[in-house]
Each structure stands twice: as C-alpha cells, then as structure tokens.
Symmetry: C2
Amino acid sequence: MNHNQEQDAKQRILLAARKCFAAYGFDRTSVRQICEEAGVNVALVSYHFGGKENLFYALFEAYFPKKEEAERMKVEDPVGAVKLLIEEITRMRIHYPELISLLQQEIALMSPRIPIIRQHAFPIWERLREVLQAGKDQKQFDFESLDQAMLFVLGSLFIHKQWPYFEPIMSDPQPNFEASVSYATFFILRGLGCSDS
Amino acid sequence: MNHNQEQDAKQRILLAARKCFAAYGFDRTSVRQICEEAGVNVALVSYHFGGKENLFYALFEAYFPKKEEAERMKVEDPVGAVKLLIEEITRMRIHYPELISLLQQEIALMSPRIPIIRQHAFPIWERLREVLQAGKDQKQFDFESLDQAMLFVLGSLFIHKQWPYFEPIMSDPQPNFEASVSYATFFILRGLGCSDS
DNA sequence: GTCTATACTACGATAGAC
DNA sequence: GTCTATCGTAGTATAGAC
C-alpha cells in the first residue's frame, strides 16, 4: 500500500498544512500554497478534507495532545504536576513548535475557530486548575485567585514561543530544553509561593 | 476647518483602522471594511497613507507610547519601576486594548511588519532590562538570566489580554484595573525573588 | 480633498475528464 | 484518487472626474 517512499496525498497535505499554517497563519496561508508544498493538486484539499477550514481542524485532531495526557498530572503531587506541565509544554514548544504557534495565533486573533480549539486545549487547562487548587489546599502554593494563578503559569510558559521577536535585545542564545525547563520552573514555583525546587 | 462634528477623512480612517485591525487582524481586515467603518471612500487609503501597509505603520506612529514614557521607569528604584511598568501595561490593556491586541497578533504571526514594530516597542523592553539588571545588582531581585527574567515579567503581563479565550473555565469575572495590577504585582515581584510588596 | 469606475490579481471551491 | 479548467468572489491600487 505504501507507494514507495511517497505517503498518500492526504497525509502529505496534513504535513504541509501544519507547516504553512504555523508559519504564516490561517489567513495568510492559501490552499494553493499548501498544495504546492505538498506536491499535490489544489483540488485535493476539498476532496479529502472538505475545504480549508476542515483541514485546519483535522490538524488539531491529528497532532494535539489527547485528554489522557492531562491525566498524567497527579493532583496528589501538585508540585510534581506543575513541573510535569512545564516539561511537557516546553518539550512541545521545542520539538513540535507548529501547533503552539498556531494555537497562539488563533488566540491572539480570537479567530472564529476558537470554539473548536478550546475543545482540544481546555481539558489540559482544567487539569492545571485542579492541580493548583489542590496545591493551595495543601499549603504548598500560596495565592489568592485561582484564575490569576493559572494565567500566571501559562503566561510564563507561552511567552517563550516569542523569543524570535525579542531576539535582537537578548544577551544569550535561546536556551535548550533542559535550561528552559529549569528557568521556567524557578520563576513559576517561586511565583506560586512554593519553596521547593 | 472642523467640518461640524466631522473629523477629516484621514483621522476617521486612522480610528477605523485601529478598531478593525485590532478586532480582525491585519490580514482579515480589508481596506473596504476600514473605509466603510470610517464612512469614507475606498480610494482614500491609498491617497492619504499610500496603501494598507503604510496605514498600519501610521497607527503605531500615532498611538504607541513614545520612548520618553519608558524613561519614567527609574533605574534607581527597580521595584518601583517594575510596579510602574505593570501599571502602565495594565492601564493600556484595559483602556486602549487595540494596540496591544495588534502587537500580540503581529508577534504571534512574526509578520513581515515586525521590524518596524520593534522600533516602537524595543525602547520600553530595553528599559525594563536595565531596571531588572539594576535590581539584581542591588540584591532586590534574585535571578540567574536577565533574558529569562524579562520574558517572565512580560509573559505574566501579556497573558491577561487572552482572558476572553479562557473565559469559559474562569471562576470569577475579569478583574478591574486595581485588582489586575495588584494580582500581577504579587506574582511578578515574588517570581523575581523580591519580598517587598 | 473626495468620489466613481475600473484594472488587475489572488483566493476557495467545484464540475467533469481521466 | 487525482488532475484540468473555470466560476464567483474579494482583494489593493489607480486614473480621472468633480
């Protein structure tokens, strides 16, 4: 069934779309551009996915972490769970940057596609909320508002995706995975009022 | 010269552009849309600004804080300077949300307009770096990497613009100016290892 | 300074041949 | 399953009348 080293057109479109949407955003990316990148004909997007918008959703369906991933954050160990989240988001940002780029672009635009994106991401943010609340109850974290604590954690993590924008004023090169995790853990746990490291 | 309560077409275009670009992003906004909102003819964007792109730049020229604003952050009082930055960014986010929306969208997309946007924003971020470094030298702040400390501060502030995205899982309504400043100051100063409040 | 009319390009989608 | 050809729409910019 594998046509030599060629994947089928559907898969090639999916990969090209991930690349193009992340690099240029949904609006700046044309179906023609995706198909050129994939080396297939323009008509195949309509045929396989039913249009540009559905191709976008198929991307999240295929590559976004599933709800079960979130359940690896154990409520019984809030500090460990927060560390796990920091590692997982950092890993995703470094090794699979496209989906996070896409997510941030869509949120910044509050695009019409947000409701479906929420369905994929909210299980993870909900789990983070449970973990933070548990940490507060167990006196490992100290904060007043759960909403604010969640924003603070995610804000500290998401901003790293914007390194290229800040690059001209940065003094050091972008840190690797281990250093990123270590820096983020430092600021976030201290911000949450947690003395452990 | 003031045609009754009518401003001149150029000013009306500028206001309409600020509104539309922020709401829909640069790409999703058409010149026709801006001109309809402004109540002027489509051709006037080309005439007054020389095209859609230059209209965008004129927006930053007109509304973005000038370099002198940054100099209100006094290096001699790092904690006060960080508090001032938190207040100013929060004020801008609440009272003039359009430019921050626009800035975040452009950064998320790493649009071709980033180099000119940098010229407006970098003086402020540079000043923040000086302030953080001074605070570290004076042992009021404690961190290892200046780059990371700056990202952490700005990430904690910028994420608040994305409240509408998170809204369905939030337990409280979006806080007002004073509460926002107070929450942000709490997390940021603690994250910087500063015990003052 | 403002408007009408239009030129030109690009987009997304689809019908129909292969 | 894939391609060619084309339709309808919308985009930016400009020439020229007022």
